[in-house]
C-alpha cells in the first residue's frame, strides 16, 4: 500500500513535470530574497559592538552551515526511501544533492575560516563546530567518490545509500564527541555566531538570507537533478516531451 503510493508520486516523470512548474517561482523567490537579505545585512544592518564589520560574514556563513547539514539529512531520507522501497528517484536526488551539499559545506568552512582571521587572529582553530563541519565535508566527498567509482549504476545507487545512512547516524556522534573533546582541550573560544540574544536589526536579514539561500539551493537542486534524471532515463519515451 505505502509502497504503491510512494511509487506513484515518485516516478521521475511526475517529478520532472512538477519541478518544471515550480522552478520559476523558486528561482525568483530565492534570488530576490537572497539579494534582499545580503544587501540588508551588508549595508544596512548596524555594526557589531565587539567584532566590528567582520561579523557581516554571518549572513553567508550561518545559512551555509545550516544547509550543509540539512542537505545531508535530506539525502539520508532519500537513502532510506531508496533502500526500503527501491525508489529510483530517491537515488537520483542523492546523486544530485551531494555535490551541492559539498559546495555549501565548503562555503561554510571557507567563510568561517576567513571570519576567524580578524576575530581569532588565525584562519583555523580546532573548534568543535569547525571540526565537525570539516568531517561533514569529508563525508560528502566520500559519497561523491563512492558513486563515481562504480560502472554499474544500480550498485552505485545502493552502496551510496548505505553510506549516507551510516553517515547520518554518525553526525550526532561526531558532534557529541568533538564537543566533548574541545571542552577537555581548550578554554571556551569566542562563539562565532554571536551571543545569546541577537538584535532584530541583524536577525531579520539573517532569517531572510537563510530562506533565500534555501530556495536558491532548491532551484539548483531541481536543475542538477533534472540533468541527472535525463542522463539516467534517456531511453525512456516520456523524456521526448522535455527536450
Amino acid at each position: 500500500m505505502i509502497s504503491a503510493f510512494i511509487h506513484k508520486f515518485s516516478s521521475p516523470k511526475s517529478y520532472v513535470r512538477l519541478t518544471e512548474k515550480l522552478y520559476p517561482f523558486f528561482i525568483v523567490l530565492g534570488v530576490s530574497l537572497l539579494t534582499l537579505g545580503w544587501i540588508w545585512g551588508l549595508l544596512f544592518a548596524p555594526q557589531d559592538a565587539v567584532q566590528g564589520n567582520s561579523y557581516r560574514i554571518i549572513f553567508l556563513h550561518v545559512p551555509s552551515v545550516i544547509f550543509a547539514e540539512l542537505i545531508y539529512f535530506f539525502m539520508a531520507i532519500c537513502a532510506l526511501m531508496h533502500l526500503v522501497w527501491r525508489v529510483k528517484l530517491a537515488a537520483y536526488l542523492i546523486k544530485a544533492a551531494a555535490p551541492i551539499g559539498a559546495m555549501i559545506t565548503f562555503l561554510g568552512l571557507f567563510s568561517g575560516s576567513i571570519w576567524g582571521i580578524p576575530t581569532w587572529g588565525t584562519w583555523w582553530q580546532w573548534d568543535a563546530r569547525i571540526t565537525s563541519t570539516l568531517i561533514l565535508f569529508i563525508m560528502y566527498l566520500g559519497v561523491i567518490t563512492l558513486h563515481g567509482s562504480f560502472s554499474n549504476l544500480i550498485k552505485a545507487d545502493r552502496l551510496m545509500s548505505i553510506l549516507v545512512i551510516i553517515g547520518v547516524i554518525n553526525i550526532p556522534i561526531i558532534k557529541k564527541s568533538v564537543d566533548w573533546w574541545s571542552t577537555l582541550h581548550q578554554p571556551a573560544s569566542i562563539s562565532i555566531s554571536g551571543g545569546s540574544s541577537i538584535d532584530p536589526s541583524m536577525l531579520y536579514p539573517l532569517l531572510i538570507s537563510i530562506i533565500g539561500l534555501g530556495f536558491t539551493l532548491i532551484s539548483l537542486g531541481i536543475l542538477s537533478s533534472r540533468s541527472y534524471i535525463f542522463t539516467r532515463e534517456k531511453n525512456k519515451k516520456w523524456i521526448a516531451e522535455h527536450v
Binding site: 552502496l159 564527541s177 577537555l184
Partner: protein, 216 residues
C-alpha cells in the same frame, strides 16, 4: 561459525604479509618517532601517547585494507553466499579473527612502548585494555569501509570510513587522559565495551548488505 573462524585464522596466518606487516609498521613508527625529534627539548612522555594513537589508526587501516577484496576477486564470496545466503557470519568471523590476530598484538605493542616511555608500571594493563577495545571499534569501522570500497582503492576506503574512525580516536584520546590524570577510567571502559558490543553486532549486518550489493 566455527568453520568460518577456523578458516579465517588459517588463511590469515598463511598470509604473513597481511598479518605481520601492520605489526612491523607499528613498531617502526614507534621507534622512528623519538629518533626524529630533539629529545632534549621535548618532553616525550607528554605526547608519546598521541603517536601511539595515530599509529594505531594507521596500522589498523592498513591491516583491514584487503579484508574482503581477496574473497571478492577470487569468487569465494559467491560460494559463501550460496552456503549462507548472507555475509553476516563471514563479516563477524573476519572481524573477530582480525582483532585477535592483529588488533590485540597491536595493542600489546602500543602498551609496551608506552611503558618504555614513562608510563607507570601499574597502568600497563589499563593501556593495553584501552588500546585493545579501541582496536575492536576501529577494525569494525574499517571493515565497513573496506566492504564498501572493496576493489576501488584506498582513497574511497579512507573517505568513507575516516568520519567514523575520528570519534573512536577522540574516545581513545580521552580514555588515555583518564589514565594519566586518574579518575573516570571505569566509566570510560564501560562506555567502550558498550559501543564495542553494539558495533560488533550491527556492523556485520551493514557489511553484509554492502557485500551483497557488490556481488550483485
Amino acid at each position: 561459525m566455527v568453520r568460518l573462524i577456523k578458516s579465517e585464522i588459517f588463511k590469515l596466518l598463511k598470509k604473513l604479509k597481511s598479518w605481520l606487516g601492520p605489526l612491523l609498521i607499528m613498531i617502526l613508527v614507534l621507534i622512528a618517532f623519538p629518533l626524529s625529534i630533539d629529545i632534549s627539548q621535548f618532553d616525550l612522555d607528554k605526547f608519546y601517547f598521541s603517536i601511539i594513537v595515530v599509529s594505531i589508526l594507521m596500522t589498523s587501516f592498513v591491516a583491514t585494507e584487503g579484508m574482503f577484496e581477496e574473497d571478492f576477486e577470487d569468487g569465494s564470496l559467491e560460494q559463501e553466499f550460496l552456503l549462507e545466503k548472507d555475509f553476516y557470519k563471514l563479516a563477524l568471523a573476519k572481524i573477530f579473527v582480525f582483532v585477535f590476530l592483529i588488533g590485540i598484538p597491536l595493542a600489546l605493542i602500543g602498551a609496551i612502548f608506552s611503558f618504555a616511555n614513562g608510563v607507570a608500571f601499574n597502568s600497563f594493563a589499563k593501556v593495553f585494555l584501552i588500546l585493545s577495545l579501541s582496536n575492536l571499534l576501529l577494525f569494525n569501522v574499517f571493515a565497513f569501509g573496506n566492504a564498501l570500497s572493496i576493489n576501488k582503492g584506498a582513497m574511497l576506503g579512507v573517505l568513507s570510513s575516516l568520519p567514523l574512525a575520528l570519534p573512536v580516536i577522540i574516545l581513545l584520546g580521552s580514555s588515555i587522559r583518564t589514565i594519566q590524570y586518574g579518575d573516570g577510567f571505569i566509566s570510560i571502559i564501560a562506555l567502550m565495551i558498550g559501543i564495542g558490543l553494539l558495533m560488533s553486532a550491527l556492523m556485520p549486518l551493514i557489511i553484509s548488505a554492502a557485500l551483497k550489493t557488490h556481488i550483485d
